[in-house]
């Protein structure tokens, strides 16, 4: 039944003509922001039997008829303790004030009163949420309001506690779900590499034979692209092919793991999880000038093989470890990688809850493989994650504030702060003097400024303050607060003497500014503090009228002692609504995967932070945590094989896929922990297996029939290269690649037409691309509002949501880019130049070299003939360009 019909019918019902059944489809929360795990509607059937017409004359008493109804329903969320949507119905005065949605009660007119309309289901959401009032109660409310909404008797209601959120116990069988049990290391079912033993067992069970090993030429290319994301040079290929020692393969892996480019490749995988970018996103897309330090930290951590548990500790709690290092401070940028609207959180706390949610989603999906964020508004629909768990995690993170950590020694940083403060003080003083000098001139100039405003504004300003009408007060305020006089305008009217003094003061300010210390390097990270006292940053100009600190308390932004830092209070939010605070929350974790009784706070000796994030990190990396190791080994597996043992990389919950090889997954997870959480060790283990070394160029009717998706790994799965690797490979083959490691991001050229679609934020490109821009793609500035089109088209993931597995799409626009894009054509030309230089005017040698550089092999006879035929009529650059478009070039096999 549609709302309109419904309204009509209710209108009739309310007039007491009949009895109507009304169905109201009602979402259980105003703005769930896409979190709900399933459609969550209640079909509320409200039976409204209009009271007899005679009831209209019945006098309603608040204390007798209404208060019991309010007490049982409305006041649970709209009273002194809790004011959902800012509405407090505890007194007539507060009820008349209304809530965020505006007026709710118009005495004398029930049909215009939303209290009645929502109770009757005329407006949505129908109230009370998830329930219904009795028809006679709805009718009583209608009559009571029509009769003037008199609050007789009890002036103040009993204080109603926030409706307690039931601690729904986790059913014991919930922990029996495979992913919530701790992994167990089964003995491998056979000798040799345990991975092969597990894989072959499954294949044998299905009667499928594994593919033969790939050729050594295929393997060397596979290893290079997998580990460092660059194709091997002809010399590197030859080095391996000519190495006939039995451990040639193992040594190749070691060489690649030792390469500084390994971290660039594997760090890039982590950036997808960490939703890393160099800008804020949203309207102004402000630059994050120090974000790149986090990028370099991650690359460095992979290169150093920082144990994964330590890697997580540093990223989650790098500021509160016992040994805080510059690197661990940089690492805290991880939690700060959310897209940010850019207005002050203290004025717009709802944004802060989005950032917290993003952190929880990233930790949940990225580290635990669990969709914890689904429990923001209600208990998780599929997994045993309760809303309580969500808000405990939120409490664990709630103290966070964004800070720029100095990366110098403490004394240098102190010195810098001291000097900066001195300069600020001196400049401030001079500016005050300057301003006082200008004031009389400003006062004289302002009236002329007001003359530019419409007459009503001028009239308002001209009216003496005391005599302004309420509307004029508003008008005058708007203008007087906003109008300024420029320095130049003042100069033009200044007396020569004053002007001379102003110039002297300005010169002095400039002199003092020269003594301002050079900025010290800082890391964009987080620490604990009190967000309600956050100093303004870019874009944080207070929205006028919203600059009031509503929750002002004693304290300051960062806690500097004495004593211990206290986290600002956080609450369970009923249905996730920022304005519906439930009980205050203590820190904690997802109970269903918590074994034992881990501490929820591990305060550092400094006392400057709560230690809640550190406790959270320790819980995550505890050997008792059933998911962290499994999820990470599965990620590593995914990037080696194109598919995880659990194919839903970010979701190990019930809505995810079951593991194809559960015993192998567990075995790897336990090995990972036992071997010191070393990612490089896992590469060695995986890449030395026969399973990894199988051919992809293989098919078998029996296997295809039984396992067309190759879930059981009977051959190696060929797959398209990631966007960055396609670009990097072209640069490597053309010889233009600049292999410099780390540092500030680079800005390859983007067509002006594309740039015009997004005007805010920075894009500091050169007129023409050159070696500066020809660095590896991981160093390209990640602008949230405008991803590099060349990469985006090849499925660069959205940089605003944590992503474990990228899409792989095949569309004509990819072909257009590879056929026509300036970058590709330029690289093709450089590739052709390289061939011409190496083998001047020798087409046959040029073709051989083109194949060796691009595909690490020589052409076969037919390929050579086709290429030479082409070169007989067309330019070398045409051939070079074709090489970049070959499927073989774009795939790892």
């Amino acid at each position: 039944m549609h709302r309109l019909n419904l309204a009509t019918k209710l209108g009739i019902a309310a007039k007491g003509i009949g009895c109507t059944i009304i169905e109201v489809r009602e979402p259980t929360r105003k703005s769930c922001q896409n979190r709900l795990a399933t459609e969550l509607r209640l079909l509320t059937t409200v039976l409204i039997c209009a009271a007899a017409a005679s009831a209209a004359d019945r006098q309603i008493s608040f204390s007798k008829d209404i208060q019991p109804v309010f007490q049982a329903t409305c006041w649970k969320c709209h009273s002194l303790a809790v004011q959902s949507s800012g509405l407090d119905l505890s007194s007539r005065e507060s009820a008349l004030k209304g809530g965020e949605g505006g007026v709710v009660m118009v005495p004398g007119n029930a049909t215009k009163s939303r209290i009645y309309r929502m109770a009757a289901g005329l407006d949505k959401p129908a109230m009370p949420l998830g329930g219904k009032l009795k028809a006679e109660d709805i009718e009583a409310i209608r009559l009571w309001i029509d009769q003037g909404a008199v609050w007789d008797g009890a002036v103040k209601p009993l204080v109603t506690e926030a409706s307690p959120v039931p601690e729904s116990p986790i059913p014991p069988e919930a922990r029996n779900y495979w992913a919530f049990r701790k992994p167990v290391r089964e003995t491998p079912p056979g000798g040799g590499n345990p991975i092969d033993a597990f894989v072959h067992k499954e294949l044998q069970a299905k009667g499928i034979k594994p593919a033969p090993p790939a050729s050594r030429a295929t393997l060397v290319r596979r290893a290079y692209l997998d580990l460092i994301g660059l194709p091997p040079t002809p010399a590197q290929t030859a080095e391996f092919l000519n190495d006939r020692a039995p451990d040639a393969w193992e040594r190749l892996i070691e060489r690649l793991l030792a390469s500084p480019h390994y971290g660039e490749r594997w760090g890039r995988h982590w950036f997808d999880v960490a939703r890393y970018a160099d800008s804020n996103g949203f309207e102004h897309d402000f630059d994050r000038p120090n974000a790149w330090r986090y990028r370099d930290y991650v690359i460095g951590a992979f290169n150093k093989d920082t144990p994964y548990n330590q890697f997580l500790r540093e990223q989650i709690a790098g500021d509160e470890l016992e040994t805080v290092t510059p690197e661990s401070l940089v690492a805290t940028g991880f939690l700060r990688n959310y897209a940010k609207v850019g207005y002050r959180e203290k004025d717009n706390p709802e944004n802060r809850y989005e950032y917290l949610d993003d952190m929880i989603a990233t930790l949940g999906r990225g580290v635990l493989g669990l969709t914890v964020q689904c429990a923001r508004c209600h208990d998780h629909k599929f997994d045993p994650i309760r809303q309580m768990d969500y808000y405990r995690l939120q409490a664990s993170l709630f103290g966070y504030v964004e800070v720029d950590h100095p990366l110098t020694s403490r004394s240098e940083a102190d010195e810098y702060e001291k000097k900066t403060a001195e300069v600020d003080a001196r400049v401030g003083e001079l500016r005050r003097v300057l301003r006082a000098l200008e004031q009389p001139y400003r006062d004289r100039l302002l009236p002329a400024k007001y003359a530019k405003f419409p007459q009503n504004v001028q009239d308002a300003i001209a009216t003496p303050e005391a005599q302004r009408t309420p509307g004029q007060v508003l008008l005058a305020d708007q203008v007087i607060r906003g109008v300024t006089v420029s320095s130049d305008e003042i100069d033009r009217t200044m007396e020569p003497e004053d002007l001379k003094e102003k110039r002297r003061l300005s010169a002095e300010i400039a002199q003092v500014e020269k003594t301002r210390p050079k900025p010290i390097p800082v890391a964009a990270g987080i620490t604990d503090g009190d967000y309600r006292f956050t100093p303004d940053g870019p874009g944080d100009e207070p929205a006028p009228g919203k600059g009031v600190k509503r929750e002002a308390i004693e304290g300051s932004f960062l806690f500097r002692g004495p004593g211990r830092y206290q986290t600002p209070p956080s609450y369970l939010l009923i249905r996730g609504d920022v304005n519906s605070k439930g009980p205050q929350m203590q820190p904690g974790f997802v109970e269903a995967i918590t074994y034992g009784n881990p501490p929820v706070e591990l305060p550092p000796s400094s006392g400057q932070t709560s230690g809640r994030r550190r406790a959270l990190a320790e819980w995550l990396v505890s050997p008792d945590n059933p998911l962290t190791a499994r999820v990470m080994v599965n990620r590593i597996w995914h990037h080696h094989f194109g598919r995880g043992l659990v194919s839903t990389i970010d979701n190990f919950g019930k809505m995810g896929e079951a593991p194809s090889h559960p015993e192998l997954l567990d075995w790897l997870a336990v090995e990972f922990m036992n071997r010191g959480w070393s990612v490089k060790t896992m590469h060695r283990l995986i890449m030395t297996s026969d399973t990894y070394k199988m051919a992809s160029e293989y098919t078998d009717a029996n296997a295809m029939a039984k396992d067309p998706e190759n879930r059981l790994l009977w051959r190696y799965g060929a797959r398209r290269l990631d966007a960055e690797i396609i670009r990097d490979s072209m640069l490597a083959v053309s010889g233009a690649l600049n292999l410099e490691v780390g540092g500030r991001p680079v800005f390859p050229k983007i067509q002006a037409e594309v740039l015009a679609s997004m005007q805010y934020g920075i894009w500091k490109q050169q007129k023409e691309d050159g070696p500066e821009a020809w660095r590896r793609s991981v160093y390209i500035y990640r602008k949230r509002g405008l991803p590099l089109p060349m990469l985006e088209i090849f499925d660069l993931p959205n940089q605003n949501i944590s992503c474990g597995a990228r899409n792989v799409s095949t569309v004509p626009t990819q072909a257009l880019a590879l056929m026509n894009d300036d970058f590709v054509l330029r690289q093709a030309q450089l590739f052709a130049n390289r061939l011409q230089e190496a083998a001047p005017n020798d087409p046959s040698k040029q073709v051989d070299l083109a194949y060796q550089l691009a595909l690490n092999r020589l052409p076969d006879a037919l390929e050579r003939k086709l290429a030479l035929d082409f070169l007989a009529q067309h330019k070398l650059v045409g051939l070079a360009h074709v090489m970049f478009n070959l499927n073989e070039f774009l795939y790892v096999r």
Binding site: T648, V808, T813, A815, L825, F870
Partner: protein
């Protein structure tokens, strides 16, 4: 292989002709996209048929970026004149985007009744008003954010946050295109620049990139990278492509049954065809002078948006599923968009003059060409504006109420749906959320918004999240 070669020949035929299948659909039908597109959360997806008989095959969305003032265009409020200069009271805290709230301000424009329906429309839209009896006008739409970008994202994706697929992506995902030579989802933005929020407005979020909107430029080459630079001759390009095809086909023989490789080979042929089909599709010089004039191409004021509207009709005619036009782009925000903080009279009269004739021309032309019944036209901004003044003559953002109209798709015209309160501050009667709007648009396209789902993050995601009620007056045939 044989089947493929003949198919290839077929594909190299001329631009027109093939219909009934979208690009994604076409490739998918032959299993060519099959290598199950590994999406961010894992499961594969495929294009599908509508859930039921659609009323519209295409959508033209006319987006007035910056926020159109409903009380100065489609929602007259006599109370503003009556209480002019007085504070707006009794509505709780008045939240404005910039500065402090001002007093109530009457519209600088007059309204009058148009058409048999007697719809009240502002004097700044005389030509659109002449179509009053074809418009279904909603005066009670409300959004969630008073921030331009968040509000743009809400209209585009249903969410005020970044990272979600736009409605054009959902429609493309659900239905594909009827013309595989053109992108199914096309965006043409203002010559001044993109709208607030930029490309995320037509992004595919967590869906594969193939569902994102393709930007067509109103002049020059319509698609980036559509053509090689001038120094590469067509002959050279064709020779290169032929060599590529031979080598790729030879390579594909080593991987029998690998549909991903075949799809990639085929994508080159489609790309090659797009090179000639896309410019043809948007070539407004092919239209008669009378048609060009109808859209205002003879007047420098109306020419830019007129061109966008005419391109839209040509695209829809060729089976493009979703055409998103933006008027108002990020040049000088107060001047080049509808963001009338400074002076609503100046701003809105200028912008209305730029779009009135083109939009009217589009409606007239769609009717005349018989496309109106199968095309849904939606006119919207990202929010309405305040009934109170900003510094005397401007208006601040107001997501509490806005007016949006639809036409075409056999929607009953001449009807006014819902209302805002007496000042136009908040939606009052029959409040319509953006989810409701999206649900209704999908319905008109033959899709049930609760069933059009995409598995991501362990959950079947929807354009309308868990919300969305159909607007009965819109979806009722």
């Amino acid at each position: 292989m044989k089947r493929f070669r003949s198919r290839r020949k077929f594909l190299f035929e001329s631009c027109g002709g093939i219909s009934g299948l979208g690009l994604a659909l076409l490739l998918d039908r032959d299993g060519l996209l099959a290598a199950p597109p590994v999406d961010c959360a894992g499961k594969s997806s495929a294009a599908r048929k509508p859930h039921f008989e659609p009323r519209a095959k295409s959508v033209i969305s006319l987006f007035m970026s910056g926020g159109v003032s409903h009380v100065d265009t489609f929602d007259p409020k006599p109370a503003l004149a009556k209480y002019a200069g007085q504070p707006l009271t009794g509505k709780g805290d008045i939240v404005v985007r910039q500065g402090n709230p001002g007093p109530l301000m009457p519209s600088p424009f007059s309204f009058r009744k148009y058409g048999q329906s007697g719809m009240d429309i502002s004097e700044i839209f005389p030509q659109i008003a002449s179509h009053a009896d074809d418009l279904a006008l909603m005066r009670s739409v409300k959004g969630q954010s008073n921030d331009h970008v968040q509000a743009h994202y809400e209209l585009a994706t249903g969410m005020i946050r970044m990272g979600f697929p736009s409605i054009g992506s959902w429609v493309t995902y659900g239905l594909g295109s009827e013309n595989q030579n053109l992108p199914a989802f096309v965006v043409i933005y203002d010559a001044h620049g993109g709208p607030f929020g930029g490309p995320a407005n037509w992004g595919s979020g967590f869906m594969p990139a193939s569902y994102q909107g393709t930007v067509l430029r109103p002049s020059g080459m319509p698609i980036i990278d559509l053509q090689p630079p001038p120094d590469v001759t067509p002959v050279e390009q064709r020779a290169g492509l032929d060599l590529l095809m031979k080598l790729n086909e030879k390579d594909a023989e080593k991987y029998p049954g690998n549909t991903e490789l075949t799809a990639r080979i085929e994508s080159y042929e489609l790309a090659y065809r797009m090179q000639s089909c896309a410019p043809e599709a948007v070539d407004v010089t092919a239209e008669t002078p009378a048609t060009r004039k109808l859209y205002g191409l003879d007047d420098p004021v109306t020419e830019p948006f007129g061109r966008q509207c005419l391109m839209a009709r040509r695209l829809v005619e060729r089976g493009v599923r979703f055409v998103q036009l933006y008027h108002g782009g990020l040049g000088n925000q107060n001047v080049d968009t509808w963001d009338a903080h400074t002076d609503v009279k100046d701003n809105h009269s200028r912008h209305a003059a730029e779009v009135d004739r083109p939009i009217s021309g589009l409606l007239t032309d769609l009717k005349a060409s018989g496309l109106m019944d199968s095309t849904l036209v939606v006119w919207q901004g990202e929010f309405g504006r305040m009934p109170i003044s900003q510094r005397g003559v401007g208006r601040d953002h107001n997501p509490g109420a806005m007016s949006i109209w639809m036409a075409g798709a056999r929607i009953r015209g001449g009807q006014v749906i819902g209302s805002s309160d007496e000042f136009g501050y908040k939606a009052e009667e029959q409040p319509i959320t953006i989810h409701d709007l999206h649900a209704s648009i999908l319905n008109l396209m033959g899709m049930d918004h609760t069933k059009l789902t995409y598995r991501f993050n362990g959950r079947d995601m929807r354009l309308t999240d868990v919300y969305g009620d159909l607007i009965p007056q819109i979806v009722r045939a």
